[in-house]
């Protein structure tokens, strides 16, 4: 997107007042989204973003600026402002820049077949119509369907004063379905999403219809929901999206910027037992086509697999270049950013609790009185303490080892690090679910995952 001469010129200007590190990040992104409601396409939007983010480190401080352009004049002006800001904070030694940028390699290799740019809006409209029909055809009680499909194609280039450059392209497609079921005065909703780092082949093999029927199944099932119990109870948490609790209440505490800010309970716990022995947790950005995967992170570091917790023992945090340097560690390829408008920070990619040996049925059979939480409506967490609240969107009573009536308006409230120690058993049915995660105003594609797990006690907030 920009030539080698301009890249080196910009790095030279950034470096002119002295710098510990400087970087150029170039991004071009084309995005589209369509939304269906009431059986009709409510809106169809497209966007074009292209620009460049410039970054400079000086005595431990980060200086950042961006321009919505790749014009030489505007890049030079922005680089000069940044360099002056760095200089005014004390200046430093001018780096000896490597004139030969070495192109980084990545093990990520996953081909895209049906590119969004070659998929007309009319095709996307038909996908949403199919979803609408599949939901309404599932059961007469489905009264409303909202569905959205969005896609993006992106090209990214990075180069930095470490003498490294990287280039890659990204294609992502996201389908979300919300079905509403009604019976007399009772209204319930069911949600399902499909999202992959790939093109529209994501939906081949009737996957859109399948997801639509799954969203409808949840809504219809919940029509029979009874009041949820309250108090401390054993809870079996279902596979795939159940991993959102680990992501929110523990994963963020394993992002290394939290160590620097003394905002994680896991600080100085490396090598120590922080979870029950049943727990092994992994962040892996290399998995082909997964929603949170990438060839390079937002700083040009290649993707990798990082074991966070091994048999209950804390193995590693997730690092970007800055936190790795400050803490004397190797970067783990988790320096991610939403766009050229954003400073990269340590973020999870695809984060999951690894499969165990237990059978899902055995976990359920072991609970005399408790709850089976299968899907969540999202939640909120205080990352410094790990305190969380999650709303259960699909849940059931567990009675004498069997799944009982569905329950409504139940929430789980607790503390992530304490819950980790109460995970009694982990089943063998690992599965994943895509989502978006927000941190410091940056929203990113993240995948969560886990098998079915059993927690000995969590506080359930219900209405019963």
């Amino acid at each position: 997107m920009i030539d080698n001469r301009l890249t080196l010129r910009i790095l030279d200007i950034l470096n002119s007042g002295g710098a510990a590190f400087c970087e150029i990040y170039v991004q071009k992104k084309i995005s589209n989204s369509l939304r269906l409601e009431d059986g009709q396409i409510e809106n169809s939007n497209s966007g074009f973003d292209m620009g460049c983010g410039l970054r400079l480190w000086h005595h431990g401080s980060t200086f950042y600026g961006y321009v919505d352009s790749l014009e030489e004049g505007r890049l030079v002006e922005a680089a000069r402002i940044l360099s002056a800001a760095g200089k005014s904070s004390g200046g430093g030694k001018v780096l000896d820049l490597n004139r030969e940028l070495k192109t980084a390699g990545s093990r990520y290799n996953a081909a895209v077949k049906k590119h969004p740019s070659r998929t007309p809006a009319a095709v996307k409209k038909n996908i949403l119509k199919l979803v609408d029909d599949a939901c309404r055809g599932y059961d007469k009680s489905i009264i409303q369907v909202t569905a959205g499909i969005s896609d993006m194609e992106e090209e990214v280039y990075t180069a930095n004063s470490l003498g490294s450059q990287s280039a890659h392209s990204v294609v992502k497609v996201f389908l979300s379905i919300n079905a509403v079921a009604a019976r007399k005065d009772i209204i319930r909703t069911g949600y399902k999403s499909l999202a992959r780092t790939m093109g529209y082949e994501m939906l081949d093999g009737g996957k859109a219809g399948h997801a639509a029927r799954e969203a409808s199944r949840i809504a219809v099932t919940m029509l029979d929901a009874v009041d949820a119990p309250t108090g401390e109870l054993p809870v079996v948490i279902g596979p795939a999206f159940g991993g959102v609790i680990f992501h929110e209440a523990c994963g963020h505490g394993l992002e290394a910027d939290a160590i620097l800010k003394d905002a994680t309970v896991f600080k100085s716990k490396t090598g120590k037992k922080i979870a029950s022995e049943a727990v092994t947790a992994i962040d892996d950005s290399t998995m082909a086509h997964h929603w949170g995967s990438y060839a390079f992170d937002g700083e040009g570091t290649p993707c990798q697999e990082t074991v966070l917790i091994k048999d209950g023992v804390l193995e590693s945090f997730l690092y970007d270049l800055r936190t790795a340097k400050k803490l004397g560690k190797e970067p783990t390829g988790n320096g991610r950013r939403q766009s050229y408008r954003h400073v990269p920070i340590p973020r999870m990619s695809n984060t999951y609790i690894a499969a165990g040996n237990a059978g899902r049925e055995d976990l359920i059979a072991s609970v005399k009185k408790g709850i089976y939480a299968r899907e969540f409506a999202g939640g909120q967490v205080d990352p410094a303490t790990g305190d969380f609240v999650f709303g259960i969107s699909e849940g059931y009573l567990l009675e004498k080892g069997k799944i009982g009536s569905p329950i409504k308006n139940a929430t789980l409230i607790g503390n992530g690090p304490r819950i980790l120690k109460k995970i009694e058993a982990v089943a063998d049915d690992l599965d994943f679910a895509p989502g978006f995660c927000g941190k410091q105003g940056q929203s990113l594609a993240n995948e969560v995952g886990q098998p079915t797990i059993k927690v000995s006690a969590i506080t359930v907030g219900g209405t019963g």
């Binding site: 401080s61 919505d68 809006a121 219900g462 209405t463």
Partner: protein, 462 residues
């Protein structure tokens, strides 16, 4: 008058783009352009952690064709990118639904005709008087004051200053042409406190039109207070009791109610307020306004995201639901007038029905007297899980809460890991008293509330 120059530059961008729209492919069009110049400073350990700046301009184009609407935006403003964006907007208009109400706002769609709004309240002439060096000092002071506000504060996870100067412009094929500029300066602190094994966080912020209007000390003291007050919290027994919501917490609850008052949600049967106009829903005489003209309001604008004049709309009067909030389309559907509530998050998104400055009018009570009037209750200072724990259609609500126990009119120990479960209509009917301490918090719109006392609310603890 530098802001005048910037506004004129945006106007030129809009006019240039408008000239490129093929008239045979668009019945009507609208172009929104925005420029924003932003600074952000994060301090950690009395050093600059991050200093960032940006100067960004983009346009969003809405094409009305054969009663369908298409939208596209671009952050790149060269001729090729603008032409491509127009083509995409036209292509998008070919797949969206046809609706006879899809056309640009006209004068007789608007509830507020005379714009008496004083634009100067949106923009501080002194905004540029403060140097970047001084802004860095302010953020450092904020960190230092927060750190030293209480000996139990062990860290300040965020101490930041940020400001923005924004210019916006809308022109459309019906002849509307409008522009404005705003400035905002904001500081934010998040304090971590620890005592006998318990960790707690508390956050607070300050907002003004220019850096000189910020009260750093006030932000530091409040962030520290909100963190330390709930240290050592414990669960309480489940049961029904009176609760007092502090202004920040009450404003968060208000945001849930507010989202259900958009005519869009009501018309799509996604609001529990459907068919409730004219009913007294609050347990007391309470007035709630959506005011797009409030001088100090972050969400104040002379006109909304589609060029409709903004005003002060009484949504609840004496506890009775008076109206929903409308943009042009939803107003036509209900055969009423737009309240000027078409909101655009940025040039990247289409206008949708949203909030302006939305607030509960303050009462007359001193908050201390309100606490004094409660025999056994819960003073709530923080709630979590509001978004996921609330169903705006069924009205069921279940959220986690932290705060202080009230016993015989006095605040006693800290409370945490309890949940409040209620249905929203029952919650509204439980309102009994309002404080005189109206305070605003930024969210979707700019939400404001005084302290509020509610009777007999179900709390689940242990």
């Amino acid at each position: 008058m530098k802001e005048g120059l910037q506004e004129n530059r945006l106007m030129e961008i809009c006019e240039k783009a408008a000239a490129k729209i093929p008239r045979n492919k668009a019945d009507q069009w609208e172009i929104f352009a925005a420029r924003s110049v932003e600074n952000e400073i994060d301090i950690f350990g009395q050093k600059i952690e991050t200093l960032s700046f940006s100067d960004s301009t983009g346009i969003g184009i809405r094409i009305f064709r054969d009663r369908s609407i298409g939208y596209a935006y671009t952050a790149v403003l060269d001729d090729y990118a603008v032409e491509d964006t127009i083509d995409r907007a036209i292509a998008n208009s070919l797949v969206t639904k046809k609706d006879r109400l899809n056309y640009l706002p006209a004068e007789d769609d608007q509830r507020y005709r005379n714009n008496l709004f004083d634009r100067d309240t949106l923009f501080s002439k002194d905004f540029r008087q403060v140097s970047i060096g001084r802004k860095i000092e302010m953020a450092m002071e904020l960190e230092e004051l927060t750190r030293n506000a209480d000996k139990r504060i062990t860290g300040v996870s965020d101490a930041s200053y940020n400001d923005s100067m924004s210019h916006a412009c809308i022109i459309n094929s019906s002849g509307f042409s409008g522009k404005y500029s705003t400035t905002i300066a904001m500081v934010y602190a998040s304090a971590i406190s620890r005592e006998s094994g318990d960790t707690s966080t508390g956050e607070y912020f300050g907002i003004a039109r220019d850096p000189a209007g910020l009260n750093i000390k006030d932000v530091a003291v409040n962030a520290a207070r909100r963190s330390t007050a709930i240290l050592g919290g414990r669960k309480i027994r489940s049961g029904k009791m009176d609760i007092i919501l502090d202004p920040m917490t009450s404003a968060q609850f208000l945001s849930v109610i507010a989202s259900s008052l958009s005519a869009d949600a009501v018309q799509k049967s996604k609001s529990l307020f459907k068919d409730k106009i004219g009913q007294k829903l609050f347990g007391m005489d309470i007035d709630i306004f959506d005011d797009g003209t409030l001088p100090e309001g972050l969400a104040s604008r002379p006109f909304d995201g589609e060029g409709v004049i903004k005003g002060k709309t009484p949504v609840f009067k004496d506890g009775v639901l008076e109206t929903f909030l409308y943009d042009t389309y939803t107003a036509r559907k209900d055969k009423t007038l737009s309240t000027g509530n078409a909101v655009r998050a940025s040039y990247r998104s289409t206008p949708t029905v949203g909030l302006s400055n939305f607030y509960i009018s303050p009462g007359k009570n001193d908050p201390a007297d309100m606490i004094g009037a409660v025999d056994r209750g819960f003073y709530i200072m923080d709630i979590i899980g509001l978004g996921s724990g609330t169903n705006p259609i069924s009205g069921q609500m279940s959220v986690g809460a932290k705060g202080l126990m009230i016993e015989k009119g006095r605040l006693t120990h800290a409370v945490k890991e309890v949940t409040i479960a209620a249905d929203i209509l029952g919650f509204l009917s439980s309102f009994r008293m309002l404080g005189d301490d109206l305070q605003f918090v930024p969210g979707s719109g700019y939400m404001g509330s005084p302290s509020a006392m509610l009777e007999n609310i179900s709390i689940s603890g242990k």
